[in-house]
């Protein structure tokens, strides 16, 4: 697969305040995104995710480093023809209606009137905003703005879609719908780069991730390679056995309504626990092997600092 976005040695320092104090936000970032994948860019707040994205889109000029979009230098207007972007907490011209708004962005891409007439209703349908087509953006809720923002990012049928915190501020149903749209984009052959700190969402949809902490990429690769499939421990919920007896086999965590949550690290001891429950005529309510999650990996990386 060919590379659609490559970033090499990106650095950016901001000077802030009346007496300028220099703050290095990006300390040499390099990664590449291949065509047709969903790439997750994660990091805690203030790690530099949005700054990286703004550099890619030409909103900020990096101090050093090279960015290539679709095989061209990123500031070349032609390279932006095939890029769609949804910023974090998007604000748009609130005096426009949804339809006028999409039409305006379509015109910026020099789309012909008949193309726009055809594409705008299709996009409104995709993001489920048909009923609000003629409502002014001023009256939109945050979730609605997010949806219309996504529609705006797709108006030029981009090959690369860059989404900055696309799932922020949405309710669970809204998040699922946006996730579904992102997966659909991949199935249409588009590449999606999304930044987030909501790890469950990233884990559900991303093929590859890069983890950014304090302006440096600490880890990147396929999700399956980063997160090991090894079972870390097994959680057993049981009842009818005393905590003292269980302590020898695992780590009894909580007891509620007569049920105990037991954490067993050694796989060989699981059978012993089950035997013990049978002997005491107790019940096993659930048995859940826990593998490493992205969250475990992420917390492990961020915490030592």
């Amino acid at each position: 697969m060919s590379t659609i976005l490559s970033i090499d040695g990106l650095r950016k320092t901001f000077s802030q305040g009346f007496i300028p104090r220099r703050k290095e936000i990006l300390k040499g970032i390099s990664f590449a995104v291949s065509e047709g994948e969903i790439f997750g860019y994660l990091g805690p707040n203030g790690s530099g995710k949005t700054t990286t994205i703004k550099c890619v889109l030409g909103l900020i000029f990096p101090d050093a480093g090279r960015i290539e979009l679709c095989g061209r230098p990123h500031l070349d207007p032609r390279s932006k023809e095939k890029v769609g972007f949804l910023p974090e907490n998007p604000y748009f011209y609130d005096y426009l209606t949804a339809r006028e708004f999409l039409d305006f962005y379509g015109q910026l891409f020099r789309l012909a009137p008949d193309v726009r007439r055809e594409r705008i209703p299709a996009l409104l349908k995709l993001v489920d905003m048909e009923r609000a087509a003629d409502l002014s953006l001023r009256k939109f809720s945050r979730g609605m703005l997010q949806r219309i923002g996504l529609a705006q990012a797709l108006i030029n049928e981009p090959s690369l879609v860059v989404l900055d915190e696309p799932l922020g501020g949405l309710d669970p149903i809204g998040r699922k719908e946006i996730r579904d749209i992102i997966l659909r984009l991949r199935s249409e052959g588009k590449t999606v780069v999304l930044s987030s700190h909501i790890l469950q969402d990233i884990e559900m949809i991303c093929d590859r991730v890069a983890i950014l902490v304090d302006g440096r990429i600490l880890s990147q690769g396929r999700l399956t390679d980063l997160v090991s499939e090894k079972i870390l421990f097994t959680e057993i919920v049981l009842s009818g056995v005393g905590d003292r007896e269980l302590a020898a086999l695992g780590e009894p965590l909580s007891a509620q309504a007569g049920r105990t949550l037991l954490k067993v690290y050694d796989e060989a001891r699981i059978q012993a626990v089950l035997d013990l429950v049978r002997d005491r005529k107790g019940n096993v309510h659930s048995l859940l092997p826990r593998t490493q999650t992205l969250e475990d990996l992420f917390v492990g990386m961020v915490r030592p600092r």
């Binding site: 901001f14 703004k54 909103l59 000029f61 932006k80 972007f85 604000y91 426009l96 962005y105 910026l108």
Partner: protein, 254 residues
Amino acid sequence: MTVKVIAVNTFKEAVRDRILYLLLFFAAAAILLSRVLAMFTVGDRTKIIKDVGLASISIFGALMAILIGTGLVYKEIEKRTIFTLISKPIRRSEFLLGKYFGLVLTLAVMLASMGLIFLALILIQTGALEGRLLLAILFIFFELVLLTAVAILFSCFSTPILSSLFSLGFYVIGHFSWSLETLVKKARPGLGKTLLRLLTAVLPDLENFNIRTEVVHGLPLPASLLLYSAAYGIVYAAFVLTVAVLIFRRRDFI
């Protein structure tokens, strides 16, 4: 093409701004007030109406250019609407010029509305219309074309309040800089005179666009003077816009 799309959108934005109508209301009130002032005047009452009316159009036009112009670019950055725009295949210069021409279009429409009220009043008063009044309004427009460019320039790197003060300063200085020339004539030769000369060359001379006295009093207006004034406005505006684009091109949108 992109400039046109942004200009039309800017026009939509400006005409949906309430401040515009507030200014238009006061402009209309000021123009109509000239009729009242005329009643207290001995002699040619029409001259007073023309004079006060044209001055009102000029001042309120300038206020519109400054108050809306200084907010336009700043608001885009502050409200982050610029993020989605600049990420599209448009040049930053196209964005800025689009904003500029959008506002110029708005001001043209506003001048036309104020002009209509004014001309209607003159028509009622005298029963006749003068083409030269239109010429005076056209030169007010040239002045606004320049003033808008200045407002946009300041708005590229400063907050609306500061930009408004700077632009207002430009407007006031521009209307009084002609008095420097008198000072140059009276100054003794030397360093002081050279510095004053330099200052008169750099400072804008907005009185170039003021042909109201000639129009009101029926004095001759040579074509060469008119051409020079129009060219002065356009060249000065182009220069200011170039500086604005140069600043805007290097800006980071944090």
